[in-house]
Symmetry: C2
Subunit: 192 residues, 2 copies
Amino acid sequence: MRTFVLYARKARTDSKFRLDDLVSAGRMDLVCRCITSALWLSHNVREDTRIFVVLNGPTKPPVTICFQGSKLSKVYVDESTNAKWIKKLLSMKFGKEWLEVEGAKIARKSFQEVLSELNGKIYVLHEKGEFIDNVKIEKNPVIVLGDQIGLPDKEESFALRNGEKISLGKNVYLASSCISIINWICDKNGID
Amino acid sequence: MRTFVLYARKARTDSKFRLDDLVSAGRMDLVCRCITSALWLSHNVREDTRIFVVLNGPTKPPVTICFQGSKLSKVYVDESTNAKWIKKLLSMKFGKEWLEVEGAKIARKSFQEVLSELNGKIYVLHEKGEFIDNVKIEKNPVIVLGDQIGLPDKEESFALRNGEKISLGKNVYLASSCISIINWICDKNGID
């Protein structure tokens, strides 16, 4: 199982955002693109992959939503439809425990709580990390990345207690592009 | 200069599509994601990259739009804002010659006409191509890819007259993911 964890610093945690302006919803557009990059091949969902999106924006952070390829009953690839789904999940009654809805799950869990629930070696995507081609990625990797602002220091330190920093090189890529690239590298090296 | 050419088989060629349902506009969502993947780093536009999107859907195909990083005056990364821009361009009066509008350009040009205007070695992304890690990509590459349906045979044959097939491996990836991966490979190998 390949796992991505996206820390979205400002993405809204209520359902009161407009579907025609995802950028203003704390960069919910970025969150939606990351879900697509993590879970989708051209014609199939990736059965062996999941993504946790940790939303830390207003009005009641944190909220984490998990989408797992093998459990998804519906098929979404565009930002707008993913956003509708997130909006629907955020409008439900949920608390500290996972609430499962049509293959997705949602809870009032923080980044650190989510990481604590996961097994597998943690890789934190970071400009100053070891270049990914020089890293032997282990099976069941947990790949952690921030949004356009990056991970807060305390979250980064927490993730690195059992993890290592990796980099995609000198450029800083869109989070969704990072996920596409890492999926491809894991595919070609047979790392699930 | 790195160049991508996306053949979008059904994407609309008039401005009469709804911004809240890009999937129904001949997969305009896919076109928008490809533009983002081609031109955007996390905080910057790629100055050295351009993408031609060849739209072949109703009502008056073909239409090609070119977005070039170094010429763009506005900053768009989400699907919805890219789609608004495409809609605006499609609503203008344009013909066989390029009309330049705020750094983008649009014309009633076909896939073959666009390829004929380009210099640089052509690489056609194809499941049966040579694996990209085994290909020495030349400077100023022109990377050609289809949408979720793929290139029509006659367009593929035309592109291959001066090109070669390359592949990203056994999986078929989203067009936008292909572009992110190829950009990364070109970056790390210093190929512009």
